[in-house]
Symmetry: C2
Subunit: 206 residues, 2 copies
DNA sequence: TTTTGACTTTTAAATTAAAAAAGTCAAATA
DNA sequence: TATTTGACTTTTTTAATTTAAAAGTCAAAA
């Protein structure tokens, strides 16, 4: 049976992550990862049938960590604004840390492999669920008005994500100071938005 | 003296606009425009020294129209939310109408010529000014709390623009229904945001 | 079970050639 | 003099070709 496999797999994902975070998925080759580990390229194929599955594994690890941190962050916060700001803070850390993951080699934007896309979608769904939960809780506590919490959360998430993507599209390589600015803006938006929810419900008519 | 020049120039910009709006700047050639007008390509060079200047002229016309419509729209509206929603509505119309203008021919994203970039920047500045004006007015009427109106307007504009850009990046060709969705979301964001401003001022500390 | 060398296939990058578009200029027209 | 055009050169795009590198396979060895 595969006895050493689990620990070896981990070593591989760690080595891969190191390269991925610095050069991105596309600018990292299988042979480079193998060389880093002092093994042959073919050995990697024993653990991961292809590059996509290695990428998917690494991506899944990151997503899991992110979700975990978001969950723990939220429990330490009392009110809605702090909870939402906390989510942004956690995301911001990950955004900066793993910014290069999407760096593409070819001139035309190669789309991410389906495996990664699926994880990203799942992540967005989970994040949305967490936000809805926070909104529902706040509504129950009369912290905000009742309304369509799903629609509200989706709107806020879309605006925040769009701002982040706008940043991505104007920066090939991350810059700490401007990321900090983005971070502040997102929190500012959250503050005003949450205040808006205190006195205004999201219409389900109109 | 150039007697016919002004009217001829207009004919050219009109013909150019027709092609540009359908195929985009880059997929429209000088000779095509000339053929549409039944003149030789070289005649175009008599009126416009190069392609960039023709593009710049057309872009300037559109921007001027947009700004004009925004200004007139705003005067018909009474409260802040309606004013801001009005801006979005006007922009949405133009967004849809001139969506193809940014359609690029080459695989690598050719940046817009500087002339166009400048106009776009000017537009953003003017729009921001208009929004600041609306916010100041609302603050004076005690419709919203006092605060850093410039910062507030910039934040809202950034969020709205980012949502629009996110749409752009996921659609090569515009789709009326999804644009309508975007439009609704933007207005929803404005509603909550404005409500937030009624009870919350934008901090200039922190 | 795990690792590897030798191999094939696929994909990306670099080079080149051909085509099309952009831009110039001097002569013609009116 | 204002406008138009034919003939030309330069620049840019596209398509085709080659070359190199990375991805992936397989059977044999440790």
């Amino acid at each position: 049976m595969k006895t050493e496999t689990p620990v070896k797999e981990e070593l591989i994902t760690e080595a891969a992550l190191r390269r991925f975070t610095h050069f991105g998925f596309n600018k990292t080759t299988f042979s480079e990862i193998a060389k880093d580990l002092g093994i042959s390229q073919q050995s990697l194929y024993y653990y991961f049938p292809d590059k996509k599955s290695l990428i998917a594994k690494v991506a899944a690890n990151i997503m899991t960590d992110l979700l975990e941190e978001i969950k723990t962050s939220i429990t330490t916060k009392q009110n809605l604004e702090d909870k939402l700001s906390g989510i942004v803070e956690v995301k911001q850390t990950f955004f900066e840390k793993y910014f290069m993951l999407a760096t593409d080699r070819p001139l035309d934007k190669t789309p991410e492999p389906d495996e990664v896309k699926n994880f990203v979608e799942q992540m967005e769904t989970r994040q949305l669920e967490i936000m809805v939960e926070a909104l529902d809780e706040a509504a129950a506590k009369k912290e905000i008005c009742h309304g369509d919490t799903f629609k509200t959360a989706r709107l806020l998430l879309k605006a925040l994500t769009a701002m982040q993507e706008a940043y991505r599209n104007s920066h090939i390589i991350p810059d700490h100071n401007t990321i900090l600015e983005l971070f502040k803006e997102q929190k500012e938006l959250i503050r005003i938005f949450v205040f808006g929810l205190k006195y205004q419900t999201v219409s389900n008519h109109q």
